[in-house]
């Protein structure tokens, strides 16, 4: 959408807006608008949407890293003010003199200003049928008003990822074992449908088994990152994507998934050089244990190993030297309550040395949020399922984000969405 279309789209009720002007309600325009992202912001999550739509309309914005919780600076204009007012986002008109003062403060402190110039085209990997769980990223995007497309195996293997700047994975099991749900949910119609649906897809796409199909999809996703894509994964997708990549030529799927038992020597045969984030992990050999490997520190569905939830702390990076990790941890809270997912966290001992840890639990053997590069692209893994539902169960109602407009956990997701919009030459790491 170009600038003219943006102005048109947000000005649909022009007659009424003019009415407001006539009543003397429209404030005079200033030089710029600051969207504060500290505690004074009335809706942190929708603020990302306002900024995204501005950038999408071809208007330049700036992300003021570490300035009042990672604020946004936009040019002032009635359409932008209107958009912010409608969605309940606090904005502060700022005159040139104050902008200069802000820039001075940024220059003198651990802060930086990153231009945002191109709205990323977003794809979310989700099965076409409706799974009985919700995806935090889809909900965050919908709540913030950021457009996205849905892709699945057909699109990924059909080469459609090249058309997107940003790809999100969530609750997918790339080992092809249907998240080992049969241990708990055997007989459930949705599980039978999931198995049937995936088996049909494998047949149509020429894969011998569902695990083979998912491995092929995982390789395409790695290629996508290698070619410059941004990958953001949460929950099971993080761990199983890397397991599928490392197990390119090894059977790590239980007999119920592909008709053959797992290779008993699987651990020794895994090739971790092909994985993005992890190395040296042990695959769970028992089909009776709802766990994929020892990458996850919390093991939520394996009662003997399950670890309690704590809180994770975001690292404070140097904004001018490390703008990428700084950008990914912009938040108004530094310590955030942890939340479970089928994969909740990542053991430190299983991380590749090149991984950047963005958040961890102090004193614990696991980390929560990591980032790294592969080829020309970048990946970010965030453990857990839903930042505002600590123990989300299948069948639970979806989280209503209008009740959590300040969610620091969801902010981390939205940081990742805007990340590809940042002007590349400014990103030093």
């Amino acid at each position: 959408m170009k600038r003219r279309e943006f102005v048109r789209s947000v000005g649909r009720t022009a007659a009424l807006a003019v009415g407001a002007d006539l009543l003397g309600l429209a404030p005079p325009l200033s030089s710029q608008l600051l969207i504060p992202m500290d505690e004074s912001q009335s809706d942190h999550l929708k603020a990302y949407g306002v900024t995204y739509r501005v950038v999408q309309a071809g208007i330049k914005a700036e992300w003021l890293l570490n300035y009042r919780g990672g604020s946004f600076l936009l040019p002032d204009g009635p359409a932008i003010r209107r958009d912010a007012a409608l969605v309940g986002v606090s904005v502060e008109p700022v005159e040139d003199a104050r902008v200069t003062a802000i820039r001075g403060e940024i220059e003198a402190s651990n802060m930086d200003a990153v231009p945002l110039e191109k709205a990323p085209k977003v794809a979310v990997y989700v099965p076409p049928n409706v799974p009985p769980w919700d995806d935090a990223v889809t909900m965050a995007l919908q709540y913030a008003g950021i457009q996205f497309d849905k892709v699945w195996d057909f699109e990924v293997l059909g080469g459609k990822l090249a058309g997107y700047d940003w790809l999100h994975l969530h609750h997918e099991d790339f080992t092809g074992q249907f998240s080992k749900f049969y241990l708990i949910y055997a007989g459930q119609p949705w599980l039978a449908e999931m198995v049937r649906f995936n088996a049909d897809a494998a047949k149509q796409l020429g894969a011998a088994t569902v695990p083979d199909l998912k491995k092929a999809v995982a390789r395409r996703i790695r290629e996508y990152v290698g070619n410059g894509g941004f990958l953001f994964a949460m929950c099971t997708a993080t761990e199983t994507l890397d397991l599928a990549l490392a197990a390119e030529r090894v059977d790590i799927a239980a007999v119920f998934a592909d008709g053959t038992p797992m290779d008993p020597q699987a651990d020794a045969k895994l090739d971790w050089s092909k994985a993005l984030a992890f190395t040296g992990a042990h695959v769970e050999p028992s089909p009776q244990i709802a766990s994929f490997s020892d990458i996850d520190g919390h093991q939520v569905n394996a009662p003997a190993r399950r670890q309690p939830l704590g809180a994770f702390k975001l690292f404070n990076f140097s904004a001018k030297i490390d703008p990428v990790p700084t950008l990914l941890v912009q938040n108004h809270r530094q310590v955030i309550p942890d939340f479970y997912g089928l994969t909740t966290s990542f053991l430190r001992t299983r991380l590749k040395p090149s991984d950047i840890v963005l958040a961890d639990e102090e004193g614990a053997p696991w980390v929560k949020y990591i980032n790294g590069n592969h080829g020309k692209g970048t990946w970010t893994f965030f453990g857990g399922h839903d930042p505002e539902d600590q123990q989300h169960q299948i069948g639970d109602p979806p989280t209503d984000l209008s009740l959590h407009p300040h969610s620091p956990g969801y902010r981390l997701i939205l940081n990742n969405v805007l990340f590809p919009a940042a002007k590349k030459r400014e990103l030093k790491t």
Binding site: L16, A85, V87, Y182, A186, F256, I289
Partner: protein
């Protein structure tokens, strides 16, 4: 003494193992259990402990030699055999499992245990088809067609064969009627598409009483109480202790569902339960409860008929009689027989003082809603409770005595009635604060019509009352926009013609109320009505206008939420 000490050592050790297991230290617990078995190879607690802790440690293989040694040491011990059989299955050694199970079956040819243990172990390993084959083989070997019905039902359910599960449960109930709640609970989980098939399967032909009870409970749980009762009722036609228990259970289950049909069914089941119970306290109390349920279901005639039975029951204890007398007066009030209710309240000595006070309040409220304001006030004459103050406030309001109503509502505060009552009074106080003058009988009459449920006439009367205020020289501050907004709100919930009138009313309020609170509130109602009429684009336009025009209004957060809903951005839960 020495012998005692020696025997207590393993017991102490295994207790330590349990503690370690409870705290999640499985490695250490396993070491204790193994040590216990070295000293006492047939210690079943230690074997069962190992069976629990070794699988999560991926060390199940270590259980096999100790289980084999234990079974060999005491071949007739069923528990030890069971552990060994389960271990074979868990380790995927089907030949050994088969050999052991068949040997066990040969040793105990009339016993179901070998087949059951074998099948359950296979089921735990998610090998449902193999488990089913074992149970069918057991049936053939034992020569009992009804054997393993419950296990077969569970397996059918796990494989999605709900009709098969229903068939097995129905057959199993013949030998084990106490399993009825389990059958109803298991089949109650059936997906929507399977429910009708199950109901038909259980009721086709001449179903047994137990099949009828199962089908009745299922239909009740699936939201078809009347059909459920029709299916269930013949199974409790013949008096017996079993029938009485079933009727009571059905009544209790119906009590968990809050629909008029379920309330009626509960009443019918309680009345039947009373008929099936011996004369006396239980029957009388059940009838009193049945009468209440009939009243709640709106069937005063049936309620009175049941209560007459209590009155005639000379064996009924005083508390049951008291319940019945209270229910009689309630039925009279609900049935509009206020004179008779008043007489009962004045003369019936079997009513308790508490019952009398609460019934008098209820009668006063009923009189007030019938427009008998003098009579309602008279009923409250000797009462100074906070509930009475609130009710007097409403009576004053309906008389049009605005300042009296305002004073009484403030005096009652939030303490009378439930939260909804308190909210209603607060809303009314807010409206009264906008209105000039102490008295406005036309408004009182309009609000009484509203309380009586005559919304069409109430909306018209409220518009008229608002119009009189406006033409009486009232500006924005005279409260007429607030009154007109109330008229619009009432009309918006009525038929299409009234809704059109509501749209005009909201338009008028928005245009006339300026920056007063009524304007944004009217625009919000306007948008909500448009949404209900599926005019979503127009609703969005109004919501956006509201948010942008009245940014300081208290209704802006609500408007934003409506806007999200209109745009489909709020997830459906």
């Amino acid at each position: 003494m020495a012998l005692l000490a020696a025997r207590s050592l393993p017991a102490q050790a295994i207790g330590q193992g349990f503690e370690l297991e409870r705290s999640g230290q499985y490695e250490q617990a396993a070491a204790i259990y193994l040590a216990t078995l070295r000293a006492e190879p047939t210690n079943i607690s230690a074997l069962l402990g190992l069976e629990r802790v070794l699988p999560p440690l991926n060390r199940l293989g270590e259980l096999l030699p100790v289980a084999q040694r234990a079974a060999a040491a005491n071949p007739s011990n069923v528990a030890l055999r069971g552990v060994l059989l389960r271990t074979y299955v868990a380790l995927n050694e089907p030949d050994s499992a088969r050999a052991l199970a068949l040997e066990w079956a040969r040793a105990a040819p009339r016993d179901e245990a070998p087949y059951r243990e074998w099948a359950m172990a296979l089921e735990d390993a998610h090998r449902h088809a193999a488990a089913r084959d074992v149970l069918l083989a057991g049936r053939r070997a034992l020569g009992r067609a009804g054997a393993f019905g419950i296990e077969m039902a569970e397996l059918s359910q796990l494989s999605g064969d709900w009709e098969g599960a229903a068939r097995e449960w129905a057959a199993a109930l013949t030998d084990a009627p106490v399993q009825l709640p389990n059958a109803a609970s298991a089949l109650g989980e059936a997906p929507d598409g399977q429910r009708e098939h199950i109901a038909r399967l259980l009721t086709d032909g001449t179903p047994s009483p137990l099949a009828r009870r199962l089908a009745g409970e299922l239909l009740l749980g699936w939201g078809q109480p009347l059909r459920g009762w029709a299916v269930f009722e013949p199974s409790v036609a013949t008096p017996s202790a079993d029938a009485a228990f079933a009727a009571r259970r059905f009544a209790d289950l119906a009590g968990g569902r809050n629909t008029p049909e379920a309330r009626r069914v509960r009443a019918l089941a309680l009345a039947r339960y009373a008929d099936l119970s011996p004369p006396g306290g239980v029957a009388a109390r059940a009838r009193a409860d049945a009468a209440r349920a009939f009243i709640e279901a709106g069937d005063q005639v049936a309620a009175r008929a049941v209560l007459e039975r209590v009155a005639q029951d000379s064996n009924a204890p005083p508390d049951a009689q008291r319940l019945a007398q209270r229910a009689v007066v309630e039925a009279l009030i609900e049935g509009g027989k206020r004179d008779e209710a008043g007489r009962q309240l004045a003369s019936n000595a079997r009513l308790s003082a508490d019952d009398r006070a609460s019934l008098r309040l209820r009668l006063a409220r009923a009189s007030m809603l019938a427009g008998e304001l003098d009579r309602a006030e008279a009923e409250l004459a000797r009462d100074s409770s906070v509930e009475t103050i609130a009710l007097r406030g409403w009576i004053a309001l309906y008389r049009g005595r605005l300042s009296d109503a305002h004073r009484l509502f403030l005096a009652a505060g939030p303490y009378a009635g439930d939260r909804r009552d308190a909210t209603e009074r607060t809303e009314m106080v807010a409206l009264l604060q906008q209105l000039p003058g102490d008295s406005y009988p036309a408004l009182g009459g309009a609000l009484l019509l509203l309380a009586q449920g005559d919304s069409v006439r109430a909306a018209a009367a409220l518009r008229l009352a608002a119009g009189r205020l406006a033409t009486g020289g009232g500006g924005e501050g005279s409260g007429w926009p607030d009154l007109l907004l109330l008229a619009g709100r009432v009309a918006a919930r009525l038929d299409t013609a009234q809704q059109r009138s509501a749209l005009q009313v909201f338009d008028e309020v928005v245009r006339a109320a300026g920056q007063g609170a009524a304007a944004p509130a009217a625009e919000l109602e306007w948008a909500r009505l448009l949404e209900r009429r599926a005019e979503t684009a127009e609703a969005i336009r109004h919501l956006e206008h509201l948010i942008l025009t009245y940014p300081g209004s208290a209704v802006v957060p609500e408007a934003r939420r409506e806007l999200e809903r209109a745009k489909g951005a709020i997830p459906r839960s």
